[in-house]
């Protein structure tokens, strides 16, 4: 560790479940101290990808190395270097926070004083010091999530993998989680972070891979990605009515490069937001859609995603 090569190198990962090829040739690298985001909607293949990266799932094809060590489901050396925070909370509800940490610490060959001390540190990081000896089943959802994260970083992994760690967490806890990840990263830990929240990816990640239908569609820093789609504006229209039909017809307007319809929201990506505004509103009025607000936003990762896939991140 701390060497000059990347912490993680993944090449050509593939995984098929029956008829569905969930991951189709995914590859990326992460350097020490770098935070890499996999940004993609539900079912994009994020969890499947990191399951192969962490040695949980057998790969159909491809290679993963961690600090140069090839990852397989049975190789123990690379596993020591990885901390995984699964998407679903995975803790023992009948054990206390401290006991949960102690059990997993032992599996990672930590013992005695060093373990006890590290447990106290981690409890402080996840803000559970004063609830350390309460059973996990009595915790709130956010506290369980924080414990879930604590288990992953207990053994000071070289690579911390977090799978949508903030889903279902209130804004305050969420902020605390993001802050502690920023701190760990500042200490030199490499982080692989999956999310479908654009704001999280923008805030945390040095580089982002945009993943959809099992493929990485674009990769780079936020700036690189946004620049890659050129000067584009995103029109965000809150409205009610037959939004899906209308979104298809909006896509036929000149200068529009992508549209999506979600829950009470239509988004339009266009070369010039101002120019498209009045024809778009006319079309919506004709279709009987009641518009409650319209905003023109600067390009962001959401716009990049819309541009690349023709759909919104949150469907």
């Amino acid at each position: 560790m701390g060497g000059n090569g990347p912490v993680l190198e993944a090449v050509g990962l593939r995984k098929r479940f029956g008829d569905l090829e969930a991951v189709r040739g995914v590859g990326f690298t992460i350097d020490p101290g770098e935070t890499y985001g996999l940004l993609g909607p539900n079912g994009a293949g994020k969890t499947t990808t990191i399951s192969m990266v962490s040695g949980l799932l057998e790969k159909d094809a491809g290679e993963v190395t961690i600090a140069g060590l090839p990852v397989t489901t049975t190789a123990l050396e690379p596993k020591r270097l990885v901390g995984l925070v699964p998407q679903e909370v995975a803790i023992y509800p009948d054990l206390t926070a401290r006991e949960n940490l102690r059990f997993f610490g032992r599996l990672y060959e930590m013992t005695g004083k060093a373990l006890a001390q590290r447990i106290d540190e981690v409890l402080a990081v996840i803000g559970l010091s004063d609830r350390a000896d309460d059973r996990a089943k009595d915790f709130s959802g956010g506290m369980k999530r924080r414990l879930n994260i604590g288990i992953g970083l207990l053994h000071r992994p070289a690579l911390l993998i977090l799978d949508e760690p903030t889903v279902g967490v209130d804004p305050q806890s969420r902020n605390a989680i993001l802050e502690s990840i920023e701190e760990l990263s500042a200490e030199g830990m490499a982080v692989l972070y999956t999310t479908h929240y654009m704001e999280e990816a923008e805030r945390l990640c040095d580089r982002v891979g945009i993943i959809d239908q099992g493929e990485i569609r674009a990769e780079g820093t936020r700036r690189q990605l946004v620049e890659s789609i050129g000067e584009q504006d995103r029109l965000r229209i809150e409205a009610s009515g037959p939004l899906r039909e209308v979104s298809a017809r909006l896509g036929e307007l000149p200068g529009v490069t992508g549209t999506s319809a979600g829950d009470g929201v239509v988004e339009v990506l266009a070369d010039d937001g101002g120019a498209i505004l009045s024809p778009a509103l006319a079309l919506l009025a004709a279709a009987g859609v009641a518009v409650s607000s319209v905003t023109i936003e600067e390009p962001d990762l959401e716009a990049v995603f819309l541009h690349l896939t023709g759909k919104a991140l949150r469907d």
Binding site: T73, R80, I91, Y92, R106
Partner: protein
């Protein structure tokens, strides 16, 4: 192995905490023992109330050898140790045993003395009350003692003299002949009598193993629970071999299984006076039977997808093995393939092992222990293969 222990200790801590350990390992066996006591208490415990040394004897021989045996019995009765009742026919004696009037009856067959004097063997048959194993055992040893005494030439010669068959001058010759002759009294079917547990104890033993099928599946079922709770994924990405996960779960099952069966054995012994046999042999049988059941249940659990599915499969297999093993309906030795199949189940083997133990001591039960361990090994190997495939996905 270190990881397996860490996992097993964690599981046991969880089971202590959610009280399922107390229920499985302590409460359930105690309740079972109490139920057994209520159901069988009268028959099993009855013997302890006082030894019933009431013997019957049927002398169809009326020769010198049988006279000598009857007078031996009479001398025991004269000491006030036992009662002896004479019967005119075998049927009468059997009826008296069945009615509980006597605990055991000796049948001295017609021609016993003549056969003996002609240099052949003779048999004393014993008919005993199944609920009075100790009395039957004593009867057996009386007959046995008589047999070895009569094997010495002196007694043979004496009976011959008394019968007037030879003159005093030929005595030495007769004595020599008698010493060379086959043992005069062979104790028919003693093996079958003593090498079988008395029905209530064997039924309790069968039910105890049946109960094991539900207790010893706990480990593998908890692995499926961890799978649905997501913690199995955490174990799989930890730097531990996949074998340690299964090993840890098996250790948990074995500890719970042995603990639970041990408590059942001890509790039933105290509550209902069940006689399990020499502790060392019982311990060996308990451990090997638990290993066999854990192996089978791990295999069965490995075939299941969910904890519920696993529990259901384990229940089906538990009942099937109990039926094949003769726990619910005893299987007679004559019933061909069923009788053989019985000894391919931990249920049948455990009961047979206890019988061997009671009748002939620890060494007699060793082959049964080895059979149980063989079942454990074979099922264990298959379980490892099946569970390893389960962990792949």
């Amino acid at each position: 192995m270190r990881a397996a222990w860490i996992i097993a200790m964690k599981d046991l801590a969880l089971r202590i905490r959610d009280r399922s350990l107390f229920v499985l390992a302590i409460i359930a066996p105690l309740v079972l023992a109490l139920v057994f006591d209520v159901v069988f208490g009268g028959t099993v415990g009855g013997e302890d109330a006082g030894l019933d040394l009431s013997f019957g004897v049927v002398d169809l021989d009326a020769g010198p050898l049988s006279d000598s045996f009857v007078s031996t019995l009479d001398s025991i009765a004269a000491d006030g140790l036992a009662t002896v009742t004479g019967f005119g026919s075998s049927a009468e004696a059997v009826a008296a045993v069945e009615a509980g009037e006597v605990a055991a009856a000796f049948m001295l067959p017609a021609g016993m003395s003549a056969g003996y004097l002609a240099g052949g063997g003779a048999e004393i048959e014993i008919v005993g009350d199944v609920d009075a194993p100790t009395t039957v055992g004593i009867a057996t040893s009386i007959a046995d003692g008589f047999a070895s005494a009569s094997r010495t030439g002196a007694m043979a010669a004496a009976t011959a003299l008394a019968g007037g068959a030879i003159g005093p001058g030929d005595m030495a010759e007769v004595a020599v002949e008698a010493a060379a002759a086959p043992p005069p009294v062979t104790l028919g079917n003693i093996d079958a009598v003593t090498r079988q547990l008395q029905p209530p104890t064997s039924f309790v033993a069968g039910l105890a193993i049946f109960f094991m099928f539900f207790v010893a599946g706990a480990g593998v079922t908890s692995m499926l629970e961890e799978r649905s709770e997501g913690t199995l994924g955490r174990l799989l990405v930890a730097p531990i071999g996949r074998g340690s996960i299964l090993a840890g779960k098996s250790i948990t099952s074995i500890i719970i299984g042995v603990g639970s069966l041990a408590i059942l054995v001890v509790a039933s012994a105290y509550l209902m006076g069940a006689e399990w046999g020499p502790p060392l042999g019982v311990a060996g049988l308990v451990v090997s039977a638990v290993l066999a059941v854990v192996g089978l249940m791990s295999l069965v659990g490995g075939l299941a997808r969910t904890p519920e599915h696993s529990a259901n499969l384990q229940a089906i297999v538990g009942v099937t093995f109990a039926m094949l093993g003769g726990t619910f309906v005893p299987i007679a030795p004559g019933e061909g393939i069923l009788a053989t199949l019985q000894y391919l189940t931990p249920n049948g083997l455990f009961v047979r092992g206890l019988g061997d133990l009671a009748g002939a001591g620890v060494s007699a039960a060793v082959p049964t222990m080895l059979s149980l361990l063989a079942i454990a090994a074979v099922a264990g190997v298959f379980a490892v293969v099946v569970v390893a495939r389960r962990l792949q996905r």
